[in-house]
């Protein structure tokens, strides 16, 4: 098991990487799909990534990889009605978890900028056979007794519960960081509101924020 995964992920040569290959990474890591929509619901930016905390390799593994490409967008757009309702009842910018799509176990978290751009994050926990397998996975990691095991346990709790306060806080930090970079984009005189964000620097920044907080 470990040998096969090592063979298929040759690039993960760090210590964390090797630990993650000891456990099944699919058991513990979330897959994320982040998108920015204009106030008129035009997609401006999107990116997919996976858990990086606690030794995750940052690669998204959606449950239905064949359809994820459009299903994620579909799920996100279907939560817009709820978002627009929440928009006028909650004056905060970070609206937290607003919608769930049970068939894909997809959780949607939203952040609204004052000028109406919507930041939407879809998180999908890995496909767990049952809840007991999570605890068994936890047990095995604690048995290892390495330094990575503690962070691993906390990250796995995020994975197990996308609506937990820790997750909300981590997503808040992520959203705030993206917001900062979004404001910088908007300050660019060559950028007009509603234009697709093509800057590779912005993409790298969002990617880095994902690595840092999720």
């Amino acid at each position: 098991m470990a040998a096969t995964s090592k063979a298929t992920i040759p690039s993960s040569s760090t210590i964390h990487g090797s630990i993650s290959t000891l456990n099944n990474p699919k058991l513990l890591e979330m897959s994320y799909y982040f998108t920015i929509l204009s106030p008129t619901d035009t997609p401006l930016f999107n990116i997919a990534f996976g858990t990086s905390k606690g030794g995750g390799d940052g690669i998204a593994r959606f449950r239905f990889p064949e359809t994820a490409q459009y299903m994620n967008q579909f799920i996100i757009h279907s939560s817009l009605d709820i978002l627009e309702e929440a928009q006028w009842t909650n004056g905060g910018m970070y609206l937290k978890h607003i919608d769930t799509y049970p068939p894909a176990a997809a959780y949607i978290t939203a952040f609204l900028t004052p000028s109406g751009a919507r930041f939407l994050l879809l998180h999908q926990p890995p496909n767990l056979p049952s809840s007991t397998s999570t605890t068994s996975g936890l047990g095995s990691s604690s048995l290892l007794g390495t330094a990575g095991s503690t962070t691993r346990a906390s990250s796995s709790s995020i994975a197990a519960n996308p609506t937990s306060p820790q997750t909300e806080e981590a997503v808040r930090q992520f959203m705030n960081e993206v917001y900062e970079n979004y404001v910088k984009t908007a300050m660019n005189p060559f950028y007009k509101q509603g234009m697709e964000i093509k800057s590779p620097v912005f993409r790298a920044r969002v990617n880095a924020a994902g690595k840092k907080w999720l």
């Binding site: 690039s11 998204a60 000028s115 509101q193």
Partner: protein
Amino acid sequence: MAVPPRHATMQSISNGNTAQGNDRPPTQQSQQQSQQSPGLRVPSNRKTIYDRHLNRTRNAELSRASFAFLFGEMVTYAQRRVTGIQDLEKRLNEQGYPLGLRLLDLLFYRSTSTSSSALSSSSTSSSPPNRPLRIITLLHLIHGPLWRLLFGRAADALEHSVSAETANEYMITDNDPMVNTYISAPRDMNMLNCAAYVAGIIEGVCDGCGFETKVSAHNQPTELWPSRTVFLVRFGDPVMEREKVLERAGIK
């Protein structure tokens, strides 16, 4: 088990040439940034706009003269092939509008990062300020924080139309608009008010917050304040209807 990651194809929807980026371990991230974008020109000091701080200008001030000259040129530019005063004011308004949209995000960013003080004067917590949901909150935002961000002081008055027929009209008064400091309109254009540019900024802010509005600038000189300007803010009907719904729901 570890199938080739699906996300590579997903990313390619929006940005084809950066799609391979994520497969590499994070240590290569920085090099790859510079490699992956041959079309991007980075300044010689390697600092893009994303490396700059948005709060930097809190103490740095701009020269009033350079603004006056710049604004003067903007007015001259707007005057080209213009059909009349209203057309000129419309053009100035359109120049201000995108600025309002941008300022809105910047205003909130600055007040979140400097924690509370600027916007949420009432609440003592350091939580970020709320997006305005009601008209009054929005107008206070414009009258106070926005005016301070732009002109270094609050506006001079905020009033609501007394007539029931024009309940959607609000007035923001500036006794001495900075944009008009050095401007004297010729006599045959005495209705013109170049603060139409500021009206455009207000319109951008309101629209950005989801309040459809028309804003116009009007001369209301007094003995003491010869360039006193009233910004007439007229909210659209959908906004007024939503306002009623929100009031019934008890949302502040």
